[in-house]
Symmetry: C2
Subunit: 296 residues, 2 copies
């Protein structure tokens, strides 16, 4: 029978599996470091970090936490039950080569003491330089995942990602989006099958990008642009990402929450890319509602 | 008679004066660039930015804005009047040499359509490496400024800075604090005299630090630590600073608000300084309630 025990076990296995696959594809011979931690209020996690030849800073986090939600947390979640259980896997990878995109994936399961439960998650891509065909391929894979499941609604989840990963103070999306979903509940087994499919899609998607993009040539100007895009990633995560804000403001484990931070970021006052440059073209495509599936 | 016109004029003059003094002390022969901007809802500002020999990234902002407060903004400010006027000067300087501290200063005046008004402001220091005697000297100058005015309450404003410039998710202060005050109202002329004294104290305080610290020798390890401290500065400003959050979430001018960002910052998973190192000693002093005046 499907319950929090075997959902947790599957997530834990996914973390191991993804770390192994990424380390192999990176080709540096290194493996992910492991940092086991406990949560004072109940549960804990395993934070795995990596710096290799292709991936400059990668974090793959697993956690399984339980305990009592504060009144503030209950209000925040819109629930009226204190006892909770949550488990999930969260990933952010920052590559060295500016032509390899940043990627983020999350799958999570939440359960209250009264038996209420839901799944959430998604995958989104943040290229430093947008390549239409790559963004299209990325979205096509996600659409195929959604299309394999009754509960998977690509159009809805794609719009949700556009709206969620939006840097409001810059009027730009974080990247080319992807899919995002929350409070997903239906038949439990088939909902979980969809979430598993999302989780399993992650490694092949990113390994394909690593393999195809990691040896593209770049120079100092591309690295400068990458550092600027990374600062926008920081701005989104610290100012707008509800998970990050909630975690930091409610005594979550700071180092695990901030595994998403880039290794380095730059801020330049009022930077304007040269007209017609690759940088300007990328900026022009950081918009909501681009039908990426049709772009390649 | 003292009114918003001559308060604004004095703030504007302070900006010019500070930029001139800093550029001269920097010694690079460069001057501050000026970027004039307008606020769609009323008013505007002048953002002045600098990169010199000692100061790597400096921003000195002046603004004078007016218009109607949204209901959200009124609630946020705890007022029930829509018409407002606000003017102020805000400064953050990030030096090249890790042995020169980061500094922040703000003086501001706020007025509602019903005639209610108040001043706010403060100066605080964020050394990458804490030197007790320098922190003590800094606090002594601020105490002397406070002591010259009936409304200047050093102990109260020092505690306020400790509480305000606190990176809760790291359990560390942003730096060695300083003074912070808000909603200051008393006799208008003497309150303004105090605020003017704070504003005028800024340039001599920082120029002294520039002159004494800018030619201290440093190597790559000091720069790495500086980059880590800068990432904490980013975290404070984006996650906890009410002014930054409010500005970014209410369509403020992003580039002016984020003039406070460092030129570059690094994030390293779970960095722990070596026992007994200068870095560890600095970390151990990023605490509230240190009586800095007595430390040097």
């Amino acid at each position: 029978m499907l319950n929090k025990i075997n959902i947790t076990a599957w997530f834990k296995g996914l973390q191991t599996d993804i770390c192994d696959q990424l380390a192999k594809a990176d080709g540096s011979g290194k493996s992910f470091r492991s940092d086991l931690w406990e949560r004072p209020g109940g549960g804990g996690g395993l934070s795995r970090t990596f710096d290799g030849d292709i991936i400059e800073k990668g974090g793959v986090g697993f956690s399984e936490v339980h305990g009592q939600l504060s009144e503030g947390a209950q209000k925040n979640l819109g629930v009226s039950h204190g006892e909770f259980f949550a488990t999930g896997v969260s990933i952010v990878l920052h590559p060295r080569n500016p032509f390899v995109p940043i990627i983020h994936m999350n799958v999570r399961y939440f359960e209250l003491g009264d038996g209420t439960w839901w799944f959430g998650g998604g995958i989104d891509l943040t290229p430093h330089y947008i390549v239409d065909a790559d963004a299209a391929k990325f979205h096509k894979v996600l659409k195929a995942v959604c299309d394999r499941h009754d509960i998977g609604d690509y159009n809805h989840f794609k719009k949700w990602a556009d709206d969620y990963f939006y840097i409001k103070h810059r009027s730009e999306t974080r990247g080319v989006g992807g899919i995002f979903f929350d409070r997903l509940k239906g038949d439990k087994t088939s909902t979980f099958e969809f979430v598993k499919d999302v989780g399993s899609a992650f490694a092949p998607i990113y390994i394909d990008l690593m393999e195809r993009c990691h040896d593209k040539g770049y120079d100092e100007s591309h690295l400068q642009w990458q550092a600027l895009r990374r600062s926008r990633y920081v701005e989104f995560n610290l100012v707008w990402d509800r998970g990050t804000q909630f975690g930091l403001q409610t005594n979550g484990r700071t180092e695990s929450i901030l595994m998403s931070m880039p290794p380095m970021a730059r801020w330049v006052y009022n930077y304007q890319p040269t007209e017609g440059s690759a940088e300007e073209i990328t900026l022009s495509k950081l918009k909501k509602e681009i039908d990426w599936v049709r772009m390649g």
